[in-house]
C-alpha cells in the first residue's frame, strides 16, 4: 500500500482513522512494554506472552469491526483486547491480581474477556477459541444479529484439530466468521518450516472451501483493507474468510524463552519492519498528520498506560473469600 493510495480516497485516508490506527498500535506497544517492565521488577507473577512487533494485525482487523462483532483471542492476546477496546486499567489490574481486574484476579494474562466490547476471551489452549468463535457466528446467524465473529490464532493453531473442525463447520454452515491467523513464524520454538509441509498457510483455506488471503501483518492499512472485505463478505451471508497475516514477535514465546531456535539477525531484520514507524511515515508523507501530531499520539498512549499502572498498583488485591461462590453462575430468579 503506497502513501499515494492513502490520499486517493482510501478507507484509512481520514485523519480520524489514521489517528485511531496509530493510537491503538502505540497502546499495544506501550502496554506490552509496561508488562515486561513489571515482570522484570518482580511486580507481576505467572507468565506473559508479548505481542511486540505484531501490533498492526489486531489493530487493522478490529478497526473493521463494530462493538457487536465478537472476537476470540489467544495466549498472546493483550493486543486483541486493546484493539477491540478493552479498558487498560482493568487489564493491568488483572495481570497484577487485583479485584478490579477483568477476571477479579482469577484469570490473569491468558483469560481476559470483555463483554462490552464483544471480546469472548483470550485462551490458554492453542486453537481453543476457534470453535467458540464458530459457535458465536452460529448464534449470530440463528438470532439474525448481523454480527460477525473473528477468531485470532497463531500459525501453531493451524495444526490443531480445533482449527480443522471449526473451519469446516464455518464453511458448511456459511457462518459469518473470520479466521485470522497471525503467522508470526513460530509456535513456541517450532518454525512454520518444521511444522508445515506447505509454504503458504493460506492454502489451507482451499481444503475447506474457504476463500483465503495473505496480508502484510505489519501493515495496518493492508490488514484493514482485507479485513473490511472479509467482514462485508461474512455480513452479506457469503460465509467465512481465512486471513493469514505475516508478522513476527520480537520477544520470546514467554518468560522462559532463550531464543535458541532463531538468529539475532532474523530478529533484527523484523525489527526493521516495525509496523509503527512504517505507518507513521506513511501518514506524515500523505499529509494526514504532522510529525508533532504523531509524537503526541505516542505520548498519549504512554500516559494512558502509566495512569493504568498507577491506578492498578494501588487497587485492592483479589480476595480468596469469594472463590467457592465463583465457580457457577447463580440462576436468575
Amino acid at each position: 500500500m503506497s502513501a499515494q493510495s492513502l490520499i486517493m480516497g482510501h478507507p484509512m485516508s481520514s485523519p480520524a482513522h489514521a489517528r485511531h490506527a496509530l493510537l491503538y498500535m502505540w497502546r499495544i506497544r506501550k502496554f506490552e512494554e509496561a508488562v515486561e517492565d513489571l515482570f522484570g521488577r518482580g511486580m507481576m507473577h505467572g507468565t506473559m506472552h508479548l505481542s511486540i512487533g505484531q501490533e498492526a494485525s489486531p489493530t487493522g482487523m478490529c478497526m473493521a469491526l463494530t462493538l457487536q462483532d465478537q472476537i476470540t483471542s489467544t495466549h498472546r492476546g493483550h493486543g486483541h483486547c486493546i484493539a477491540k477496546g478493552a479498558d487498560l486499567t482493568r487489564m493491568i489490574a488483572e495481570l497484577l491480581g487485583k479485584e478490579i481486574g477483568y477476571c477479579g484476579g482469577r484469570g490473569g494474562s491468558m483469560h481476559i474477556a470483555d463483554v462490552e466490547t464483544g471480546n469472548l476471551g483470550a485462551n490458554g489452549v492453542v486453537g481453543g477459541g476457534i470453535p467458540i468463535a464458530a459457535g458465536a457466528a452460529l448464534a449470530s446467524k440463528m438470532m439474525k444479529k448481523g454480527s460477525v465473529s473473528v477468531s485470532f490464532f497463531g500459525d501453531g493453531a493451524m495444526n490443531e484439530g480445533a482449527f480443522h473442525e471449526a473451519a469446516n463447520l464455518a464453511a458448511i454452515w456459511k457462518l459469518p466468521m473470520i479466521l485470522f491467523c497471525e503467522n508470526n513464524k513460530y509456535g513456541m520454538s517450532s518454525s512454520t518450516e518444521k511444522a508445515f509441509a506447505i509454504d503458504n498457510l493460506a492454502d489451507r483455506g482451499k481444503g475447506y472451501g474457504i476463500p483465503a488471503v495473505n496480508v502484510d501483518g505489519n501493515d495496518v492499512v493492508d490488514v484493514y483493507e482485507q479485513a473490511k472485505i472479509a467482514v462485508e463478505r461474512a455480513k452479506s451471508g457469503e460465509g467465512p474468510t481465512l486471513i493469514v497475516a505475516e508478522t513476527y514477535r520480537w520477544k520470546g514465546h514467554s518468560r522462559s524463552d532463550k531464543n535458541l531456535y532463531r538468529t539475532k539477525e532474523e530478529i533484527e531484520e523484523w525489527r526493521e519492519r516495525d509496523p509503527i514507524p512504517k505507518f507513521t511515515s506513511k501518514i506524515i508523507e500523505a499529509g494526514l498528520m504532522t510529525k508533532e501530531q504523531c509524537d503526541a499520539i505516542a505520548q498519549e498512549a504512554t500516559d494512558a498506560i502509566i495512569a493504568a499502572v498507577n491506578e492498578s498498583v494501588k487497587a485492592k488485591p483479589a480476595d480468596p473469600a469469594g472463590l467457592l461462590d465463583a465457580v457457577f453462575k447463580k440462576a436468575s430468579a
Binding site: 477479579g104 463483554v115 470453535p131 452460529l138 448464534a139 440463528m142 469446516n168 458448511i172
Partner: protein
C-alpha cells in the same frame, strides 16, 4: 393425574420439546440428530417438528460441535449437544473441561455457558471397550461442570428441564439400556422440573442403606424387592446429580440403618462412588455404622465384548443381592 408410562428416550424427547416450545434460544445439535432421529432414536421426529436449523445435524467432529455449542451459549443461545457415545467426549474434552467448565470462573463471571451435553453411556450392548464406558468421574472431577445421571424416565424429564434452565454447563449421562424400558413411575405431563442437587430416597427401610447411580438403581430395586420378602428392609438412595452431590439423605439413612452399600457400574478405582464413601467417612454419621462400608463397582478393566465377559465386568443383580445379604447377616 395421568399415569403415563414412558421410556427414558420418550421422556428425554418430551423434555427437549417442552424446552424448544418454551424458549426460542434452545436448539439441539449433534451427529445424526436430524432426519436419522439420533443414534438411539432420542430426537426421533424432532427434525420434522422443529426444522433443520433447530435440530442441527453436524459432521463427525466432536471438538468442533462442543466448541460451537460453547460459543453459541456465550452468545445468547441455549444449546443441547448430543454426543453419540460418551466415549467420544474424549475427542471434545478441551471444549468441555478447559473451556465450558472454566469460562465463568476464569473470566471473572463476565460470561457463562448455558449448555447441556447429553450423551449415552454404559455397558450391556456388546459394543465393547470404546462404546461402553461410564465416564462420570471424568466430569465430576472438573469444577465448573454439573453432572446428572438419571435412572428413570420421570427423573430424566424433570432433571433435563432443570439442566436446560441452568446457566452453567451440565453433562447429562444417559444409560443406553434404560432408553427403551418404561420406568416404575408415571411421567408427569407438562413443564415439570426436578431441581439439580437433590438426592432421591427411592424407598425406605431399616436394615441397610444402598446408594446406587444410573442403571444400578434399577438393579438394586430388584434386590430390595426380593430381600423385603425375606424380612430385610432396605433404603435405596439415588443421588441423581453427582455434581452437585446431596449427601444429607445418605447421612440420615445411615443413622437409622447403620449399614452402607454403594453401587456403581463404572470401575471401582477412583470412581465417583468413592466420593460417597469419603464423605461418609468424614461425617458425624460415620459413628452410626455398625458394619464396614461395602463397595460394588465395575472391574478395573476396559469393557470386554463377549456377553459373558461383559456381564462379568460390571455388578449384576445377583452381586448386589449377595453383598446386601452378607452385610445385613454378618453385622448385627
Amino acid at each position: 393425574m395421568s399415569e403415563r408410562m414412558l421410556t427414558m428416550a420418550e421422556a428425554i424427547r418430551e423434555a427437549m420439546c417442552i424446552a424448544f416450545d418454551e424458549r426460542p434460544e434452545v436448539f439441539l445439535l449433534g451427529e445424526d440428530v436430524g432426519i436419522y432421529g439420533g443414534a438411539f432414536g432420542v430426537s426421533a421426529d424432532m427434525y420434522h417438528r422443529y426444522g433443520a436449523e433447530r435440530v442441527l445435524d453436524t459432521p463427525i467432529a466432536e471438538l468442533g460441535i462442543v466448541g460451537a455449542a460453547v460459543g453459541a451459549a456465550l452468545s445468547g443461545m441455549r444449546p443441547i449437544v448430543e454426543i453419540q457415545f460418551s466415549d467420544f467426549t474424549a475427542q471434545a474434552m478441551d471444549q468441555i473441561a478447559n473451556q465450558a467448565a472454566k469460562i465463568h470462573f476464569m473470566l471473572g463471571g463476565a460470561l457463562h455457558v448455558p449448555m447441556v451435553l447429553r450423551t449415552p453411556q454404559g455397558s450391556g450392548t456388546g459394543a465393547a471397550a470404546q462404546h461402553s464406558q461410564n465416564l462420570e468421574p471424568w466430569f465430576a472431577s472438573v469444577p465448573g461442570l454439573k453432572v446428572v445421571v438419571p435412572s428413570n424416565p420421570a427423573d430424566a424429564k424433570g432433571l433435563l428441564l432443570s439442566s436446560i434452565d441452568d446457566p452453567n454447563p451440565v453433562i447429562f449421562l444417559e444409560h443406553k439400556l434404560l432408553y427403551k424400558i418404561p420406568g416404575r413411575e408415571p411421567v408427569p405431563e407438562g413443564s415439570t422440573r426436578i431441581p439439580l442437587g437433590v438426592s432421591k430416597v427411592v424407598r425406605e427401610g431399616k436394615d441397610l442403606t444402598i446408594v446406587a447411580t444410573g442403571i444400578m438403581v434399577n438393579k438394586a430395586w430388584e434386590v430390595c424387592e426380593k430381600l423385603s420378602a425375606e424380612g430385610i428392609s432396605i433404603t435405596l438412595i439415588d443421588p441423581r446429580t453427582i455434581s452437585p452431590l446431596d449427601m444429607q439423605p445418605v447421612f440420615e439413612s445411615v443413622d437409622k440403618t447403620g449399614r452402607l452399600l454403594v453401587v456403581q457400574e463404572g470401575p471401582a478405582h477412583a470412581g465417583f462412588i468413592n466420593e460417597v464413601i469419603a464423605q461418609m467417612a468424614g461425617s458425624a454419621s460415620f459413628g452410626s455404622l455398625i458394619a464396614p462400608i461395602k463397595r460394588l463397582a465395575g472391574m478395573n478393566i476396559p469393557i470386554p465384548y463377549a456377553p459373558q465377559l461383559e456381564k462379568a465386568a460390571v455388578p449384576q443383580i445377583e452381586d448386589i443381592e449377595i453383598a446386601a445379604r452378607e452385610i445385613v447377616k454378618n453385622w448385627r
